[in-house]
Amino acid sequence: MSRLIALSDAIAEYVRDGDSIYAAGFTHLIPFAAGHEIIRQKRRDLVLARATPDLIYDMMVGAGCARKVIFSYSGNPGVGSLRIVRAEIEAGRLEWEEYSHFAMITRLAAGAMGVPFLPMNATGAGDLERANPQFRRIRDPYSDGEVVTVPALHPDVAIVHAQRADADGNCHLWGILGEQREAAFAARKVILTAEEIVDPAVIRSDPNRTLIPGMVVSAVCHVPHCAHPSYTQGYYDRDNVFYLDWDKISADPARVQAWLGEWVYGVRDRDEYWKKLGPDAHDRLKIEPLWSEPVNYGKY
């Protein structure tokens, strides 16, 4: 049953004002193209959840899409602050809910597993637990110890990027796996983007690698270069230069609006965006292949 549709149609159909969104990918496979499409379609009052908001949410907050962020680290990885998210929080214009990485991902795992909460061992720090009432403590029912709990997170929409998928949404992804699988199972709807749409036989050739099955996916979108300035392992590099440039752009609200005007509102889709980046950028982000050893599943 083909779930293949255009990204613009998937966003129009599945992302509504006020929704909670989890755009997955820890540094890797971040679906920037979907974030940009959400901006183009002028969604408002979104609750944006990610471990690290990264530039994708900095841009969406800058575009006025969000009323709240849920996060566990609000830096520009390796560079410094996420300037827009930080400024909006400091100004009191953006609501937030804060966790550690493990607590955030445990929320998603609880959602993915269909349980109301999951426990973690105590960390002793205390202040974040006091600041965020979603952290609770309960007695271990089997001993005299205590554990910390966080409630399940069920995003209205998860957006997950993968290297390849068939038209049903069965996908292979590799490299840094992050929280992709947890997000896909926890969410109510899943938009899956893929660099390549492949024949089901390709997926069936390596079933251990099928981390997300089509049965949890609502829409499949063929979006080559979806992740830029993030990356897709094996396909293109992370644009570290862009992450550094954004540090300067995001320090000036006028430059942010100009950038959005040119690179989000001013392009129709990701294909046009990628083309606009130009051959020098394409060359800079190109990487040589490095294949793994194949595995022998055996002809049974």
């Binding site: 820890f26 540094t27 890797h28 471990a51 690290t52 996060f71 566990s72 680290y73 609000s74 830096g75 990885p77 390796g78 602050s81 996420l82 930080r86 929080i89 400091e90 009191g92 804060e98 966790y99 550690s100 990485h101 493990f102 607590a103 991902i105 445990t106 998603l108 795992a109 973690m120 061992n121 105590a122 960390t123 002793g124 720090a125 205390g126 202040d127 974040l128 600041a131 110890g145 590799w174 490299g175 840094i176 796996l177 992050g178 929280e179 992709q180 699988r181 947890e182 990356y231 392992q233 590099d237 992370r238 570290n240 992450y243 990487i287 490095l290």
Partner: protein, 257 residues
């Protein structure tokens, strides 16, 4: 023999590397901790395993990673698992021997603030937040903290306690029965701080050319000096060469120069 010139970052990194042991499983961040691990692996700790909170185990990056999710960490790594797995099966389960930490503030008992300056709900300055540090501080067998020795970075008490050092004292941490032992040392560009039996950070070593009064003047509490204060050995030419080979563009090694 002349001592080679080195930057504060090189000084901290060499001292951090010396604290690592062969067979350590180290939870690494980018920057100086990453360089310290690479240096240790090339010198006295060839079996040290580098683990990143992005889910990478046994990374052998061919180029300098600019983030903990850099693709170079994956190529040639021993294993890559999900983030839930790395935090639950490795860190919470107790397989991590060392955690490297940094933060905007480190207080008298080695607690770290990476969250806010000022009130949490109406912050004067919003810092990035915990990331993995809240759990690393609690569950790694031992932690090393790296920071330039500046008074504003070493307050008596953190504005917000993102990660647990010895809390209000070693007894408080012990009462929490946390898996990990807490901060074993703070490496600064002036020397080393180590916790005493009460969990208070005490100046245990000074780097070449530094005297204890300099460290005390740059600390936000009345920093006690160990009666057995020692001098660290200057970074050797070999250590510096290995380090500089890992960061040829000096992206991290020149910071603080």
């Amino acid at each position: 023999m002349s001592i080679p010139a080195y930057t504060p970052s090189e000084l901290m990194t060499v001292n951090a590397a010396r604290l690592l042991r062969d067979q350590d499983a180290v939870f690494v961040g980018v920057g100086l901790p990453n360089l310290a691990c690479n240096l240790a692996r090339r010198t006295h700790a060839p079996n040290l395993v580098m683990i990143y909170e992005s889910g990478v185990i046994g990374a052998q990056p061919a180029r300098l990673p600019l983030s903990i999710g850099d693709p170079t960490l994956v190529s040639g790594a021993l294993a890559v698992c999900s983030m839930y797995d790395i935090f639950a099966y490795y860190l919470q389960r107790g397989y991590i021997s060392v955690g490297f930490m940094g933060g905007a503030q480190i207080d008298r008992f080695g607690n770290i603030n990476a969250t806010v300056i000022g009130d949490y709900r109406h912050p004067k300055v919003r810092l990035p937040g915990s990331g993995g540090s809240m759990e690393i501080a609690a569950w790694a067998d031992r932690c090393y903290l790296l920071a330039p020795h500046q008074k504003r970075r070493f307050p008596e008490k953190c504005d917000f306690r993102t990660s647990a050092g010895f809390l209000d004292g070693r007894a408080a941490r012990e009462a929490m029965r946390l898996r990990g032992g807490g901060p074993a040392a703070v490496v600064t560009d002036l020397g080393l701080l180590e916790p005493d039996e009460t969990g208070e950070l005490v100046l245990s070593a000074v780097h070449p050319g530094v005297d204890a009064e300099q460290a005390r003047a740059n600390t936000g509490w009345d920093l006690r000096v160990s009666p057995n204060l020692r001098a660290t050995e200057a970074p050797s030419a070999v250590e510096l060469q290995i380090l500089r080979d890992f960061d040829p563009d000096r992206i991290y090694l020149d910071a603080g120069a």
